[in-house]
Symmetry: C2
Subunit: 484 residues, 2 copies
């Protein structure tokens, strides 16, 4: 093994230096020659190979000298030599930097993998809240309070359920706002709805699974990857047709969107809610309640969580993806008691997914009332946008109807009776021509669905930043088909 | 469908109210009777069922009235009635609260699933940094800077690679401190080492996989769950014996800990490093470099990342689990160019795991130099602890040797030659008797390993809080076997 020099530097000195020392630097100080020569060669190689980028500030003499256990003068000599050679540059007051003229040989840069497709000017694609609305200041304030108050063990290996502060805050919040009946012990934090599905299938629940005939293709493909077959049930103006559940042989779980059917937008009718629960009870099945936008109701008709009807047969799934940001990666599962252990086993012995700082911050954000305030503000903003959408369509294309508007972050613009999939495509092309991105209903249809198809455009009115929403609406109106 | 009242409240009023409104409340306002009667019944049910916990503050009159579209007086009447009934309590200046004397019928609480085992007084279990050392203030300062500076699209759906700010910061940092050669396009952020393994196997790399004869059982079981067989290679005083790799038929990947073999503690000898790279090149295989504690070297012998020798055959894996906290759930993979697309496909179309706030914060934490400062501080602290450990053992049991001390967060206390597994167990029992938790070397041995067993105790000297470390050392010394 080539030897490098090892020197027992004064430890007390090092402690005192700790606060003032600068950047860490990895140098391979092996090979022949004096310490000075070896150091010069190592630094030169690091700069030449591009490993030390131009503009990088080198450690101060005394810092590097202490690290390497060599004399400060040796470091100073080496820096001076490399400045003379043009690899480094020394500036009064800003230390020694890697010179910009050193023309580093950077590693070959991989070509950008996603060619930046010509982006539409406006997006009404459903599925995300206005990214400009993330409450940065309130979130930071909550983070400050939460991190100051957190016990030290919060930074050790985490409980596989998630932080107790967050589970308590969620239990209280979901009970208060969504009618969920639970205690914190039955809540398991995860990194979002997709993660919840991954944890449940197939480790906790076997397939096949009943799903709605219209729903997110992403969920279906995720289930397919997990080896789970999905059976579509009809969706009508009362929501998913729960009467079909009993006829699906072998199906012991159903994934539903009771608060606001996705994407058609109707809430599950109370009779259907009761039928669904009865089916689950009589067959020993589970209902997965995807409460993706349950906080956003505009019409004051209370649609509590299905979970409140039977906490032992409903798995209530929620996240902050619509209420705060999909980039936070925080979600939760409210579980029947007898599924908790299986879910924890699927998750692993430690919390392996959701970061503790966000968990603690969200707990404070909820408990301090900041979450309620944010939801209210966004509810009003989205309600206003919905009203503007309805008004604009009524003004420009009174023969079209906007449905599913009582709640949520999207609505459906129904094409007239008799419309076909090619009418949808034509509308989509017209929208693209106007620089507007949106989806059609057909994209959400289950490939095995047998119910008559519906045709329309899915309008994600929450997506654009506030200042571009009027432009997006104008583009939409220009793209709308004229009445017959 | 039972009708609840719907009232088009003045929208402008609502906008003005938004900032001052309080908590959200889900109430099922259906059923017979006057609005006042229905509201009273709904509130009473919510309190009685335990859904509204004692001490919960109810919305202000005008807030709930605006939400429900009813007169403020009706709300005031309902509150007054429930105060009279004892369900609520009104206090001057603090509004209306759910009363504590209401004896809510809470849902049956699941029994605590993990009986709090009698915790040892001291832990020298390896694998985690001192949880009291998490740099809360510096982390919050970085979060404040990062969240203020972040573009809005940071809060939209994320790039599956992870935030560009973080990948850039990591590329610079790893080049500077670990000799890693990469650009940000080849870095993929993940939620830790285990997540990286899950992404790679079996979707990106097929089994079987060569592993070290001593290693983390957690990694082996994770691989087994993914259907990947692991073949143990010998570990000696020069690290993993790379000469064995060529003899393993069908093996096209090797998981190694080159900087500091886990848990025996030796760095991979330069000859072995070269052999390993040659094997990977000549067979088209990949080396997975688990750089779990690469930042923590105490002896100034440079051990750069293996990846620097051949970026196209080494997958460099790191995380903040040892340097900051395992609870942050942030890690990274530095990938050969031709594996990037496959890893992204395994990860999914969006960043589904690592939260954006932590990603942005870590990027700032690194770029601002806070990470370097933290590492230096911790390196000095752990070096001091290591020295104290060596000194304590030399004083109390000079016949025992502490090895693997040049780096990392743990050391191995070798039992004398001729020791057996039952000597290990006896030492472990003695430690437990002293209230001390630690592991034995045998727990890390691969079940199929053929090399002669080693016996010793694995001492995680980084684990305890600073103020309990002397006590932990004393407990260890009391537990040490006396010399022959």
């Amino acid at each position: 093994m080539p030897e490098s020099w090892v020197n027992q530097a004064n430890q007390i000195d090092q402690v005192h230096l700790a606060e003032s020392l600068g950047a860490d630097l990895h140098l391979d100080l092996t090979g022949p020659g004096s310490r000075r020569a070896v150091l010069i060669r190592a630094l030169r190689d690091a700069v030449r190979s591009g490993r030390l980028a131009p503009g990088t500030r080198l450690p101060a003499y005394r810092s590097l000298a202490a690290d390497l256990g060599i004399a400060r003068n040796t470091v100073a000599d080496a820096y001076a030599e490399l400045v003379a050679e043009g690899w480094l540059s020394a500036r009064q007051g800003s230390g020694t930097l890697v010179a910009y003229r050193a023309e580093p040989l950077a590693p070959a840069r991989a070509p950008a993998r996603r060619a930046p497709a010509s982006r539409p000017a406006y997006s009404l694609l459903q599925g995300q809240p206005d990214a400009t609305s993330f409450p940065r200041t309130a979130w930071l304030a909550a983070a400050r309070r939460a991190l100051s108050a957190a016990p030290n063990d919060a930074f050790g290996p985490g409980d596989p359920r998630g932080r107790p502060e967050l589970r308590q805050a969620l239990a209280d919040y979901l009970a208060r706002t969504r009618g969920v009946r639970t205690d914190p012990e039955r809540i398991v934090v995860c990194s979002g709805f997709a993660h919840a599905l991954r944890l449940l299938f197939p480790a906790v629940l076997p397939g096949p699974l009943a799903v709605e005939s219209y729903g997110l293709p992403f969920h279906r493909s995720l289930l397919a990857t997990a080896g789970i077959r999905s059976h579509p049930v009809r969706v009508d103006e009362l929501g998913a047709d729960s009467r079909e559940l009993a006829s699906l042989s072998g199906v012991r779980a159903a994934l539903l969107t009771p608060a606001h059917q996705f994407p058609t937008g109707v809430p599950l009718h109370p009779d259907r809610r009761a039928q669904t629960i009865n089916w689950a009870r009589s067959t020993g099945s589970y209902v997965l309640e995807d409460d993706y936008d349950g906080e956003f109701r505009y019409d004051r008709k209370p649609v509590g969580a299905l979970q409140g009807l039977d906490p032992e047969h409903v798995i209530h799934l929620g996240s902050v993806s619509k209420s705060l940001s999909p980039a936070l990666r925080l979600g939760w599962m409210v579980l029947p008691d007898r599924l908790v252990d299986a879910v924890l086993e699927a998750k692993g012995e430690r919390e392996a997914w959701a970061g503790v700082t966000d968990q603690l911050t969200l707990a404070d954000f909820i408990a301090s009332g900041s979450y309620d305030r944010h939801i209210r503000r966004m509810r009003q903003r989205y309600r206003r946008r919905r009203d503007q959408l309805v008004e604009a369509v009524a003004g420009h294309a009174p023969h079209l109807h906007v449905t599913g508007i009582a709640a949520g972050l999207h609505a459906v613009l129904q094409l007239p009776d008799g419309a076909t999939r090619s009418d949808e495509s034509a509308a989509l092309r017209a929208a693209r021509w106007q620089g507007l991105a949106l989806d059609t209903l057909s994209e959400y249809r289950h490939p095995d669905a047998t119910m008559p198809p519906r045709h329309g455009l899915v309008i994600g009115y929450a997506t654009p930043p506030e200042h571009t929403y009027p432009g997006a609406l104008e583009a939409l109106c220009r793209a709308l088909p004229l009445g017959a």
